[in-house]
């Protein structure tokens, strides 16, 4: 922890990080101060008044905690009668025109209004006049659907479009009880981060067309992971659930805070890549285009590999470092030429200098670090006299190398693949393999941040893990401990690092390792 100060909360002394406001500083030590409008990425607006606290030093009776920095000896009051009264009153005001439609609201279960009602309010409505009727199901564009009646006017969404994306599509029009969030007619949400307003919304006013009505929030398991949509490696939660009688399916990705990588947000495109984890998967092994029992197909692949004189290995820039190390080891033992050719993953000019990168693969930096050639020439040359191509889950070859497609089509191919595609259909042997939501490993992002992620989804019939398949194909470097050692050899910054103390926010390989390793 950085510098600390000691202060008193309800008479109890606590030690917290200095330089923060009361909400953030006390949250770290487990003390919640209720709030709607404050968000660390958007600053303290002070409009919701839910975070009012008492300070016993003669300043005005109540101050907003979001605008109050911690300081040495500060005496903070959170449980005084007058504060409970304020929280009670704010809740009553917020709920005057709220439709109380929790049973059909997507936010139920993760709604600040609902939670605070249970904690601070708990009263029947005293209103005897008709509610102000506002608009529902407003299409704001970019897949954002707005319900004006559920809104608490905290302006987080408005501030997001003005301060973060600087596109300013949202505003609060009218005033008093008629105030509402809307877009100017014809100027809807039009930015590549718009769905973040759904996460920012503390209540159910902003919903995602993609997610709404699909799943109740309390059924979802939230597994931390890394987005594989591009080379930024944004930190995400994979929200997934196995419904009774069904399979473990992903319902949404949400951003997970990491100051080193993505801050509080993710892009919409990456957010929606979860669909690809659910759909289009290679479900069964295939030999010559026909379904085959997995063990027979693996045996067939092993024999083909054994008999090949000039095999070429192509591996995906999305493979984890562990997979890359194992594939490289198998290539060495089989005298196979190894290529990480993957130009088709790069979409030139698509990056925006913030989170979205040109390179739509998660671990190209890993390929480079392990010295695996990614040049087209190397791959084309290797194919010239090859008699076998083993494709380790590289899904995109053809667009960037149409003239190679003919050559590949004429070759005997083993496709080890998480998804269906033209390359699996034309393969002599196709072996299904798990995808990144189902395995764990390490990837290096475009800014040389090494990150670790764990398995999230467990399918009813899990596809084999890449490392298991490699072991069955004769690879000797597939054990976790061996791979760990190989990784420490390959990455100097990892040498001597206790991997069980690997920092949660990742490791910057461009900085000295000592800056990050905790004692």
């Amino acid at each position: 922890m950085a510098e600390t100060v000691k202060l008193f909360v309800n008479g109890q002394e606590v030690e917290v990080e200095s330089g923060k406001n009361l909400i953030d500083a006390l949250k770290v030590v487990g003390i919640e101060i209720p709030h709607f409008c404050y968000h660390p990425a958007l600053g303290a607006d002070g409009n919701c008044r839910m975070c009012l606290v008492g300070i016993e030093d003669g300043r005005p009776p109540l101050v907003p905690a979001c605008k109050t920095p911690v300081s040495e000896g500060l005496k903070v009051q959170l449980d005084a009668e007058k504060i409970r009264k304020i929280q009670h009153d704010v809740m009553e005001l917020e709920l005057i025109n709220h439709p109380i439609d929790c049973p059909v609201c997507d936010q139920a279960g993760e709604c600040a209004l609902q939670d605070y009602y249970m904690t601070y309010d708990h009263q029947a409505s005293r209103m005897r006049v008709p509610q102000v009727v506002k608009e529902k199901k407003l299409d704001f564009g970019c897949g954002v659907v707005h319900d004006q009646e559920r809104c608490v006017l905290c302006a987080r969404c408005v501030r997001f479009t003005r301060l973060i994306t600087k596109t300013g599509e949202l505003g609060i029009v009218n005033r008093s009880d008629e105030a509402r969030v809307t877009v100017f007619p014809g100027r809807q949400l039009d930015n590549r981060y718009a769905l973040n307003v759904v996460d920012l919304c503390p209540v159910g006013a902003m919903t995602s067309r993609d997610f709404r009505f699909k799943q109740r929030a309390w059924f979802l398991k939230r597994s931390p992971s890394i987005c594989h949509g591009c080379s930024m490696g944004c930190n995400i939660f994979i929200d997934h659930n196995r419904e009774k009688g069904g399979d473990d399916l992903i319902y949404r990705f949400r951003p997970r805070h990491n100051a080193l990588v993505n801050g509080y947000f993710i892009c919409d495109e990456g957010r929606l890549t979860y669909h690809q984890e659910n759909e289009g998967r290679l479900a069964t092994a295939m030999v010559d285009g026909k379904d085959s029992p997995l063990d027979q197909a693996i045996e067939m692949a092993r024999r083909k590999l054994e008999n090949a004189r000039k095999p070429v290995f192509l591996l995906s820039p999305n493979c984890s470092l562990e997979q890359m190390l194992a594939i490289r080891a198998l290539a060495e033992s089989r005298k196979a030429r190894l290529s990480g050719f993957s130009d088709a993953y790069i979409k030139n000019g698509d990056g925006d200098g913030w989170l979205i990168q040109d390179d739509k693969s998660a671990n190209r930096a890993g390929l480079e670090l392990l010295g695996i050639d990614t040049a087209r020439e190397g791959f084309a040359q290797a194919l010239e006299d090859a008699d076998l191509l083993v494709n380790f889950n590289s899904m995109r070859i053809v667009p960037a190398a149409a003239e190679l497609a003919g050559k590949i089509a004429g070759l005997t191919t083993i496709a080890i693949s998480s998804h269906n595609g033209p390359l699996t259909r034309q393969a002599a042997v196709a072996l299904p393999v798990s995808s990144y939501s189902e395995y764990g490993g390490m990837v290096i992002n475009t800014n040389h941040i090494l990150q670790r992620f764990a398995p999230a989804v467990i399918k009813n019939q899990p596809a084999p893990d890449m490392l298991d398949l490699l072991r069955q194909l004769g690879c000797t470097l597939t054990e976790r401990t061996d791979l760990g050692k190989a990784m420490q050899q390959a990455i100097p910054a990892l040498a001597g690092t206790d991997m069980s103390a690997f920092p949660a926010e990742g490791l910057n390989l461009k900085e000295k390792e000592t800056d990050h390793v905790t004692a």
Binding site: T161, G168, G171, V173, N174, R175, R180, F184, P185
Partner: protein, 168 residues
């Protein structure tokens, strides 16, 4: 206040005439930021057209270099901007606390029953338009009604009847 979020579009492009254009350029120099021109530009529009069409809001935003949502906010917040053509006589009734407690609702209900206009509406013959507004600053003589910019204090339904009878 009525819901002022539904803008009226004319279907024709909007721009300032030469006089307002010059006035805009003159005023813009007086402020530290161009955003400060939102309210003056809305006034100029209303001077020119008698009201503020949707197209003008987009025009002002682009001319200033700010978000349309921001001009939209200001135009809907301040009830003195007319977001549709108003009647020959524009009636504003204060809806804030003192006027509410002193019976403004009876006046609003009378207008709805007798003339058939609710806040935000224009009578069919174009003679009256009505808006409920926030505090007009005459709390001591509530309820207050403003007709064509002129204040009428300590109002009730009887006084309003007489007032309306004298209007063109």
């Amino acid at each position: 206040m009525s819901n002022r979020a539904h803008l009226t579009f004319t279907g024709k492009p909007f721009q300032f005439d030469a006089e307002r254009d010059a006035e805009f350029e003159y005023l813009v120099k007086r402020y530290p930021t161009r955003e400060s021109m939102i309210l003056p530009a809305l006034w100029l529009t209303q001077e020119q057209e008698g009201w503020v069409p949707g197209e003008a809001i987009a025009y002002i935003a682009d001319r200033i270099g700010t978000f349309a949502s921001q001009v939209y906010e200001a135009a809907t917040f301040y009830t003195m901007y007319h977001l549709h053509p108003v009647g020959r006589n524009h009636i504003c009734i204060c809806r804030t606390l003192s006027c509410w407690l002193r019976g403004k609702q009876e006046i609003v209900d009378y207008l709805a029953g007798e003339i058939g206009i609710r806040p935000g509406e224009v009578s069919e013959d174009g003679r009256f338009s009505l808006e409920e507004v926030e505090c007009l600053g005459h709390c001591g003589t509530a309820p207050v009604v403003q007709v064509n910019g002129e204040f009428h204090e300590n109002m009730d339904v009887e006084k309003l009847k007489q007032l309306l009878a004298g209007l063109p």
